[in-house]
Amino acid sequence: MKPGVSLAVAGACLLAAPACRRQTPPPAGSLVIAQRPAFPAASVHPRSALDARCPQGSRVVLALPPLGPANVHVLSKGLAAAGEPVVAPDGLRAVFAGKRAPGDAWQIWEVSLGGGEPHALTSMPGGAATPALLADGSVVFASPVPAPGGGWFPKNPSALWALAPGGTAPKRLTWGAASAADPTVLRDGRILFVSAMPPEASPRVSLFTIYNDGSGVSPYACQHDGAGEISHPRELSDGRIAFVSLVSGPARTAIAEAVLPSRPWTSRQKLAPEAPPVLRDPAWVEVESAPAGPREKPMGRISTLNAAKTSGVIFCIDADHTTMEARTHAERIRILAAGDGGMVRALGEVPVKADGSFMAEVPSDVALGFEALDADGTVVRRVAPSIWVRPGENRGCIGCHEPHGLAPRNRRPLAVKEPPAAVGLAAPAKAAKSS
Amino acid sequence: MTKTSAAALLACAALLVPAGSLRAAGAAPAPTLPFPLIERFEHFGPEQGLPAWKVHCVLADGGRVWVGTTKGLAVLEGKTFRVIGTEQGLSHSVVTSLAIDPATGDLWAGTLRGLNRISAGKVEAFTQTNSGLPNNVVYSVAVGKDAVWAATAAGVGRRDSKTGSWSLYDATNTLMHEPWAYAVTLSPEKLYVGVWAGGIVEQDLARGTWKEYRDPDGEFELDLAPDDGPVSDISSWAAWEDGILWQATYFGVARYDGTRWKTYLEKKTPLVSNFVNFIAAKGRVAWICTDRGLTVTDGASWATYKGAEGGGGTLEITRPGARSEKRRTATAMSNDFVLGASLTANEVWLATSHGLTRGVFAGTPPSERTHTQGAPK
């Protein structure tokens, strides 16, 4: 991946960022910049994609105005490598990925922009990378750090985790069969991340969102309008979602692209021009930069999950509402779950009502798939395990693989007039209680 | 009900000459009749788009004809019937009565389960459970200047057109002998209620006071003392127009001019049957719908239309002081059991127990003589 491309995304963030509204340390105009050495000391075989992106010697610095190579403070002091910085909305601290020794796993580190040593927030097995900050200060990150060439459906896929402020036990947010990577927090409070849809042999890498508790996983963009790898999504201040796209082919060219939030599935285009380096220091390559000053805090959200539960409810307004070619009316829905070693197991079946709706209570925190069965029990449509429900989540869907960007029709689904059918639960589902 | 415009009345009067001209050549011209004669009949049934054979009521309104059947309301607009049934929000399929609000053009339709307002295609149902309507069985509806009146099986309901508030009138708060009201009709000053077994009850609209007209002889089936009041207490319909109140009963007809009553029985007058379902009043003429045909009269001149064995029909005309004149007609009503009538300048629409009939008046301009849908039988 070309560092300049990532810089273009970050630079666009910088150019489009709102002006600082208050004078707090660091002073207005300051930047937090991830740098990699222009002339690495030695070539080390990367153990992860992050090693390739932030090789040994990479660092995170605070650049103060007037911007220039001489006016930087290293934030990742004492670390062998660091990168992927994110500045807190209050402009007082930053989190980044770093490792103390070259052989260590990547973890998430926090540092005060006012000075001081960084300290590790995580100690995740397999490492942690690509931090992002939620409205309440929680750090979201991906773990484990994927190994190069591991694909999107490895045995131990990378997931997103959230670590509450002052907490020590991160909570897992994503439960898909594919890896989840590169989270960033949108202003509306959702976590935007990169993942892939089956088939596993030729996965379609695209952008997804979840809420801050991992519920509501939904496609965001790039599901049908391009090919190849994408990474590093960022929300620009004008609302566009920029990301790095690695175009397939022998050259594997990396380009910066963006989609409009107003129509994310129909607006993908190249982001131009590429932003020039900020510091113009020949010794360092700027990987990305971000304003160090305060910015608008993302929207918060109060979780509706119930940690005491091991199930969630999923209802679909019309299982026959689909973009898939087979439009045969579904009589029943077989619900699938991802098992160990890439196996898929059937949890059970739920009847489809005359209006196409169904509702089921299903196990939480496991990748779920769906098979639409006709009257003969033949599978007419299939969605491999890819979405999940969190404990106590109520998940509403418009259709099964329906067109993107739709709001639901105003109809009361017949299925919601009865309790949800228990599917794949260890014990019969109990009636929902009023909270 | 809609009122006949002056122009329409003039047009009717103009038809009298051609009506008289039907007489055999060489005969002395007969005195003109105070009503037009029907020259031919056209028929409408399910084949033409009516939802049912049985037609309870009909109302011609401008270019449209509203038809209340056992299977919903139909409206003839141009060449085709459009059906408004329970699927469109009508409260019941059996439509018993119709009235147009002259101020708004909205149609009010009484049914066996509630009253409906049809306004520019929107159906709004008023029932005894969702509104102040006294009872769901609505026999008759009339629209006044500021209220809609409904005669129901449990009293008369009045809905204030401005506030939507309901008032209920029955045996507990009026002189009404019993709450079973069969008909409501309005004059500018009075409300007349045809009460089953209760004669006619009148309300002075300004004062709110009530007055009762009962059959003095007390006999339902007999009119022992003619012209002494309502012909019977069993009112089946009432219609007011041009200062005249007509009472329909199953035992004859009565006419009240505000001062005197006059009664009409089939044995004593050319009235075709004592069993009267409905009266359409136009000017001072009553179009009397009975179980055995249609009689038209102003109380002096008479015309009766009936079907004839072997096809076609008969028209019997009786002029004051003259012998009856009976003619064969090539066409007849769909059925002699006539349940409703509505008049325009050139025609009368008749609701019968077996189809809708259009009676075309003699002298009707050729362009309007044949309805595009109706086929003579």
């Binding site: 409205a135 409070g189 809420y211 939904s218 609302g239 409009l260 939030p261 107003s262 129509r263 994310p264 599935w265 929207m299 918060g300 959200r301 109060i302 979780s303 509706t304 209802f315 998940r395 509403g396 960007g405 739709l406 709001a407 639901p408 029709r409 105003n410 109809r411 009361r412 689904p413 919601v416 007039k417 009865e418 309790p419 009636a431 929902a432 209680k433 009023s434 909270s435 | 101020a103 708004t104 053009g105 909205d106 307002r117 306004s119 520019a120 929107k122 709004e124 005894q128 459970t129 969702n130 509104s131 102040g132 449990a154 009293g155 057109s161 506030t163 939507g164 309901w166 029955d170 507990t172």
Partner: protein
Amino acid sequence: MNAKAVAAAAAGVLLALGARVGARDHMLRMSGRKDLTGVKNCLTCHFRPASVAELPWSKPRPHHPAPGGLAVSPDGGRLYVALDDVDEVAEVDTATRAVLRKAKVAGGPTGLALDASGRRLYVTCRSADRVAALDTATLKEVETAAVGTAPIGVAWIAGTGAGRLVVANSGSDDVSVLSASPLASVGLLAAGRDPYAVAAAPGGGAAVVNRMANLARGDEVPAAEVTVVDPAAVRVVSREKLESGHLSEGIGAVPGRPWALAPILKVRNLVPITHAAQGWVVSSGVAVCDLAKGSVVELPLDEANAYFADPSGIAIEPAGKRAFIASSGANVVTVVDLARLARWLDTAGEDARRGAIDDLQLSAEYVVARIPTGSNPRQVALSPDGRTLWVAERLQDSVLAVDTSTLEPAGRVVLGDGGNDDPIRRGERVFTRAATTFQGQFSCRSCHPDGHVDGLAYDFDIDGVGRNIVDNRNLQGLAGTEPFKWTGLNPSLRVQCGPRFAKVLTRSDPFGEKDLDDLDAFIFSMPPTRSPSAGPWTEAQKRGRDLFFATKTPEGREIPYGSRCSTCHRPPLYTDRLPADVGTKGPLDDTGRFDTPHLLGVASSAPFLHDGRAATLEEIWTVWNPKDEHGITSGMNKIQLNDLVEYLKRL
């Protein structure tokens, strides 16, 4: 501890227990209830306002020159602004944007319309149920005429004599037709629900948009309507259906096309609210009513990840090229290119047109700009040459001028100071602001226009998908009626509108403390909904009052204390603020005990009962009280029931 102390302690305990038992007995006796568990707080019943005069909504409040209706003179030189809260109409010099004169117009001047000459300005007076005519030369009121209840929109229609006025009577669900001069009513036509705005339609007609959807039962899809009127004939020509349309506060005819455009809020009340994304709760749109074809296509104004809540006023360029729609919850005016919109309509198939409103990526086809405005833009008006757009920024007491060639602000008419020191005004801003909802999808006003109801029932998923469907409740006249929520679980407005509200509905950060304070002030300042009945008491109302307070049935049987209307619906607010089971628990309800609603203005707030199952007051008893659990009504005859309803209309 000595014996005295022990005895004293024992006596204290006994006294406390006795007081508790006594209090419980007192509570059960006075409430007429045996099912109340535990002694409620004494404050539930005692130390309550003895009269409504003590409530916030009875007390004087600051009034603000909030701009309502706008009208621009035919020469473009004058802008007239209705200031309903201060009973004034302001005349503004459009060149200098200075207020030249103000006319006192009693009764809440709201909607404005000028005749073709610009000599007469017609003003609807919402709280006085009248239309006033002002001579623009003197800016004096020269004529007045009574219309229906709470008139809002008015349009002058040429063609009959000096023209006719068509007036939308929001409170009586009808449309008044008046001769413009002399000013006199010539007819009253039934409209939809809450008729609100009027526009001249092609061919001498008028199009009236109704703000609320007609009452829908159960799973019926609600629909608002555009009522098309022929003012010359005083007839309703047609009724165009706006499926799931709601909060339509503006309408405009498109020159050169047979269209009337009405902004709508597309409600999705039948879909369980499991989240807010994807327009799951509501979305904004514009209904294109083709008056020639009698067809309606609803198109979105929102985007896939951004919403422009509460579209209100609309203005259409004289050339018919662009429409300007004020999104009052988003503080934005959306600019719609009508040629592009027409092209899309021409090429779209029937399915695409039918599903257009649900396609959140579609608006890019025709929305060409979003113009930021001040707080709560409601009404908009264009200068006759189309060069200046005037936007009433209602909650900051100003009118924004926008240069329509650049779409940039060109100045402001300052009518007042914005009322920043008034917590009620600040609270109304919170109430109307959509920014605190996920992606700005809706505001409090979206479902509570004027703090009233939308007549819809919703399924919040917090207590189970498909369960406990609840009717929207009226916020007007709320002060003193706590607890809130149909279950009565929220002891205060702060709790009702606090984090729980954010968790269940807005799916975002909750309101801040300051906002909650202001919101309290605003909501409690709202008086009860206007009663549909005014003037001297009718005999029916008096009889109904006797029934309401009756202790014996009409047949003379004693009505148990707990079954009397006035026990639970206790004056002055007509609620005892306790939950009650009136036998309405449905198969989808977890409980049959629901909060006892107050009854002030109840007749204007249909539907009724906790899930809105009763479309009319009558149905509460004729359909939903088969076991006399909601008062002893089975023995009432229809006259008595009608009388009771007439009394309730009076409250």
